[in-house]
Each structure stands twice: as structure tokens, then as C-alpha cells.
Symmetry: C2
Subunit: 381 residues, 2 copies
């Protein structure tokens, strides 16, 4: 599959003359380029394919992507919105008066490399599109973009492998960091630092970053609803849970791990083993042609054999964002699994007085089944 | 000044019957509550004031705010968009068919506490407003909200002091971390860790986080255009620059510092002293009634006396976001400074072969002048 060909074919089916993308996750999809700040765009026309529009100062990030069809605007200067019309009118196949697709309904967005300020699509982008294209119609293509990004190309999967390897540096740090007497935030900071320090420069990665939420004891029992690293001090024998989104140049991985501080008791070990089995059951059930509902059922049945259950979804797609909306792995989901999809499985068990137990890994769907992208598994202690 | 009264008076002038806010920065402004995830809202009506709508699991974050007029929806459950209409219809003063303001043009947004996924306002929010209010008109009030947030209340300034104190933990770590032989990313990670470790729990802060960009040597000369922490190893005698956005429960601080790894030479010391003087000149020029252009001119004239200049803005507002749009401190700016505004000054000097030098601090405008919110200043070495 070629990402740009696939996009152009979809545009033709939708009678779209152009596509204007501003959001990090969609720019990454069409170019492999993650903006450092959020002042970039990708314009797609059937004639020209995907053209990246970026500030000249972001040439290292653009270079890290694979789309070499780039128009740079200069900084300092009038900026993206003002530079856009002239750049776009010079793109082969540009025409006024057509149907232009834009990102009208993204209400969850991946941040650019600099997490401190995200960019979104509002009225200024719609005006920029209007002035540039004088379009017959501006079409909200959010649903189509979400479906498009569900299946990953080989080069995208290679990047997702790297993101998962980098997440592994954090998972290893978690294993080493958990101990009675430490605060949740101490553990979270160790994990995030490991990813920054070992991930930056790893296999060419420019920006490796994670958000790690650590809960402990009673916090792990409600972790499935709410997780934030605080100043709570971990006690001997308690469960400690990590939830983490990791990005490597705009490619995301999503993980959960559970440990016990000190020595787990037998019941904790049993539950943990049952949860690990349930994750395996989910990935074994996942292959092209099955539904999200079937994967969900496999994970739940596996736990049910141990008399255990959980009150949340089993999984979701991931890759261009921490959580992608393209594949719901929930009871009754009719979403169809396809080769090249990347999704997580994250069953868990939460029992007051014993703790919360969850394991979450990422896998890519292959021709016959799934291949796990995370290879770092460890026991409760 | 009372934030909610001020907002209601503005709504009355604008003939707005209701205001629907979804973005972190605007929710923080009307409540002091920073969402952990981005699935919250604030609805303002002249009769009821500001009502916070949040998931029940975020009660610790809501509690950290000062607005106790809260409607919780339950998680798990149908979520914000589905829960919104019934909650809002029960708010005193709710009426259909009026003019409703929304955040239509925010294209730069502050992330929620979990930086890994930001929330934005798109078609789903507009539909939610439409179904709930059946409004006569949905009005984009971005410009009005931006002006409203320019002047901070006393309790907001107290929170910004805390954010600046926490940023200070990072600035201190920067001072200790810079040394020849270390990578930019090593220094950045130390700084971010200091803020997480010392900021979390500091004066009640739930979530302290920063994004720190370290550049070195030639990178500091272009730092004003582009800054990203990489794997470059700092060399003896080089300038090292920190650019950092810090948030403490949704209140932001923005800083730059410059050091030399090892021993600075005389020219570096002279330039650094001139830059520090220019920052002082900017803050001395800032007081109620002056224009952004006058502050800008003061900073430039100060440097000019040393034969130095810089190719960028002098400052901007900050507080509810890393960069606020309300006060442009650039040549010729006619934006008027008011008591209670919070802004940065960040003049710099960039010379190939010698290095980049910038200092950025935050100050609040008082009745007579400004009060600096950052107290940690240090020399080049």
C-alpha cells in the first residue's frame, strides 16, 4: 500500500479536488513529518499528490519524514496562514471552485513535538481554505481520514516498532523504579526520563517523549477510570500501575504495566497471570476479517474462566495518536479487523483490597494473526 | 475584580445569553480547574454565573479550583457530549433560542494536564450547542475571551506565582546540569524531572510539568527561530540556552536562560550583561497605560547603547497558556498595558561564533510598574 495513492483514490471516490490538513497526526500520516510547532500543513491534490508546507526552520523534522515534496515558507515572515495561498496556487492541479476536504470534527488531537501548545483547526483555517480555493464546498472529512489511517503502511509500521522499542526503555525503567517508600511521581519521572534519554537519537529519532501516569494501592483499583501521578508513597505489597503514551517523531505507542512493590501474595500472582492470559487471548483472536466484538469476547471469556471480569473496553486502534478512533474493541463491535491495523489489548482486573491489575500492549495485524510490538514482559515482581 | 462578574458584564454588552467553553485555558479561567483529560466544559449564563461540568473522576482537580458550582457526570457513562444537554437545561437562566458564544477560532491551545492528547473544539461541540440551546445564533467569541483573560485576578496571580516558583526549580536544575560533555537532552531531562519531582505537591499543586528545549553552540544562535533538545554534546566555552514552558495546574510560566559551559570569555560576559539590562529596561518601561510598542522600544534602545540588536518580538502575554495573544510587545504595538496583566520580556543577542544570549522572565503589571515573578537569576557561569 502506498499512503498517498490510497489517499488520492479515496479523494476520487469522494469527489474531492483537494485536501487541506493542519493536524499533526494527519501531517504525519501523509509525510512521516512531525511538526515541532504546529504551523505546518499538507495539501493533497489528485495531480500533485501530497505537498508538505513547513517553516524552513523545521527542515530537520521534514527530513526525518519520507515525503520530499515540500514547500518551505521562511521564518521570520508572515507565517503559515498568510504564506499558504501563494504556495498552494502553485501546486500542480490547483483549481478554484472545487470541493475541498478539511479536518472539521477532530476534538481529540495529537500534540506537535512541543507538547506545551497544540494546534487545532478553527475558523482561521476555514478562512484560509476559503480565500485560497474559493471552493464550491468545504467538506468535513474527519470520518474518512480516521478510516484511512486505520491501516498502516510498512514504513509506518517500522516507525511504530521504534516507538514501541523506545516505550520499552520506559517499561524497563518502571520495573527498576518501583519500590516501597517511593512516591508515584518519583517513578513517573524516572520512566519519562528514560524515554527522553534513551529514545532521543535512537534509530534516528529526533523527539522521544512520553506521558506516564503512575497510580498505587487504592489508586490502581480505579486506574481504569482515572490515573494521575501524585505524591502518594508506595507501600510494601501494594500494586503499582503504569499507564503511558509514548511518541517517537509522531508515532505513538500505548502501554500499561502492573507491578507489586516488594513481594506479591498468591492471589495477586493468580490475578496477574489471568490478566496476562487475557491479553494473549485478545491478540490470538485478532486477525483479518474478525470483528472488534470477537476480540473483546475472547479477552473476556479468558478471564471469566478464572471468575474475573472488567468494566471497560478491551482495546482500540493506536499509531498516529495515543488513541485512534478507527477500531473499537468493545462488546458487540462490528468494526472489521484488517491486515496492517495496529491496536492495543488492555484487559484488567480491579479488586478493592487486592489492587488493580492491567497489562496493555500494542500489536500489528498480519496476514494470519497479530505480531506484538512490545517485547518487554515481566512478572509482578 | 471578580472573574465571573467580569465575564457576565462582558456577555451582557455582547448580548450573549450563554457561553460554552471546552478548552482547558478557558475552563481554568472561569474555575481554576484544569481538566486532567479534556472532557469538561464551563457554561456561563448571566443568571447562574459559571457552571463547571466535569467527569466525577476529576473531583480532585475540580477541588483544586475555586469554582464550586459544579455538575458532575458519571464515568463510565455516555460521556460529556451526551450528558451535556440535560445538565445544561437544568442551569438557572437556561433558555433556548438565544445567542450562544463559543470558542470558534482558537488554533493554538493549551493541553489538558495529560499532555499526550489535547482536546479541541470542532463540529461535535457546535452540534452539542445546537441541540442543547437551539440558538438563534452561535457566535465565535474567541477575540472577546482573549481580551478577557488578559487581566488576571488576585487569585490567578497567586497561582502564577506558584507556577513561576516551580519553574524556578527547573531553572536551578539547568544551572546545575550544564557542563561540557553533556548532551542537550541530558540537560533537558534533568530540568523537566526537577519540575515534576519538586513541583508536584508544592503548595498543593496536583500536576507540574514543563517542556524544556535546550540548544547549544551554533544552535543557540538560531534558537530564537527554532529550538529542540537533541543529542548534540555541549563543548567547553559554548553558550547553552534553555527555553521552557511550565504549567502548574493549568497556570503557565515561560522562561529562557543562558549559560556558558565552562568559563565564559569577556565578550560573552559583556553581551550577557547587556541582555540582562535590556530585560530590566523592558520591565521598567511596563506599567498601566503604556503601549506594547513603548516597552519594545525601551528594550531595544537599551541594547542599542551596546551596539546590539535582535530580530524578534520583545514579549507577549502569558498565564492561561504558554503564549497568550492579548498583549503584543513588538515595534509599534498599540496594545495598552493594564494593571493585572502578566507578560514576558525576552530580548536576546545572537552572534555567530560567539553564541546566542537570551533571558526571559515573567512579570505582573502593578499599579505603578511591574513585579517580576521569577526571582532566580544567575550569571553566565
Amino acid at each position: 500500500m502506498d499512503r498517498i495513492d490510497e489517499t488520492v483514490r479515496w479523494m476520487e471516490r469522494e469527489h474531492l479536488d483537494a485536501l487541506v490538513l493542519r493536524l499533526t497526526e494527519n501531517i504525519v500520516m501523509l509525510s512521516g513529518y512531525q511538526p515541532q510547532l504546529g504551523a505546518s500543513a499538507v495539501v493533497v491534490t489528485p495531480q500533485a499528490g501530497a505537498v508538505v508546507i513547513a517553516a524552513d526552520v523545521e527542515s530537520p523534522e521534514v527530513e526525518r519524514g519520507w515525503n520530499k515534496n515540500v514547500s518551505f515558507y521562511s521564518l521570520p515572515g508572515p507565517g503559515l496562514l498568510a504564506s499558504f495561498p501563494a504556495i498552494v496556487r502553485a501546486i500542480p492541479g490547483f483549481k478554484k471552485g472545487g470541493r475541498v476536504g478539511y479536518e472539521g470534527s477532530f476534538e481529540w488531537i495529537a500534540p506537535p513535538a512541543n507538547f506545551a501548545e497544540a494546534n487545532a483547526v478553527g475558523e482561521p483555517t476555514r478562512q484560509m481554505i476559503g480565500e485560497t480555493f474559493e471552493p464550491r464546498e468545504i467538506v468535513d472529512v474527519t470520518a474518512g481520514l480516521t478510516r484511512l489511517k486505520a491501516v498502516k503502511t510498512e514504513q509506518e509500521i517500522a516507525r511504530l516498532r521504534i516507538a514501541n522499542e523506545i516505550a520499552g526503555f520506559g517499561l524497563q525503567a518502571f520495573k527498576e523504579a518501583v519500590a516501597p517508600g517511593r512516591r508515584e511521581i518519583d517513578i513517573a519521572s524516572d520512566v519519562e526520563a528514560a524515554i527522553r534519554l534513551k529514545g532521543t537519537g535512537y534509530k534516528g529519532v529526533l523527539v522521544a517523549r512520553s506521558v506516564c501516569q503512575i497510580t498505587s494501592g487504592p489508586g490502581t483499583v480505579v486506574h481504569w477510570r482515572y490515573a494521575a501521578s501524585g505524591t502518594r508513597v508506595v507501600q510494601e505489597g501494594e500494586t503499582v500501575m503504569l499507564e503511558m503514551g509514548t511518541t517517537a517523531d509522531g508515532f505513538w505507542a500505548d502501554h500499561t504495566r502492573t507491578l507489586v512493590a516488594g513481594r506479591p501474595n498468591d492471589r495477586q500472582r493468580e490475578i496477574f497471570a489471568a490478566v496476562a492470559e487475557s491479553v494473549d487471548a485478545a491478540f490470538q483472536a485478532s486477525k483479518p476479517g474478525v470483528t472488534g466484538g470477537e476480540i473483546d469476547a475472547a479477552a473476556r471469556q479468558s478471564l471469566k474462566r478464572h471468575g474475573l471480569e472488567y468494566p471497560h473496553h478491551t482495546g482500540h486502534a493506536t499509531g498516529f495518536r495515543y488513541h485512534e478512533a478507527s477500531l473499537a474493541i468493545v462488546p458487540g463491535s462490528r468494526d472489521i479487523v484488517e491486515e496492517g491495523m495496529v491496536h492495543v489489548a488492555e484487559p484488567g482486573v480491579y479488586i478493592e483490597g487486592i489492587g488493580g491489575f492491567r497489562i496493555e500492549d500494542d500489536a500489528v495485524v498480519t496476514r494470519q494473526g497479530t505480531e506484538r510490538l512490545s517485547h518487554l514482559t515481566y512478572d509482578l515482581d
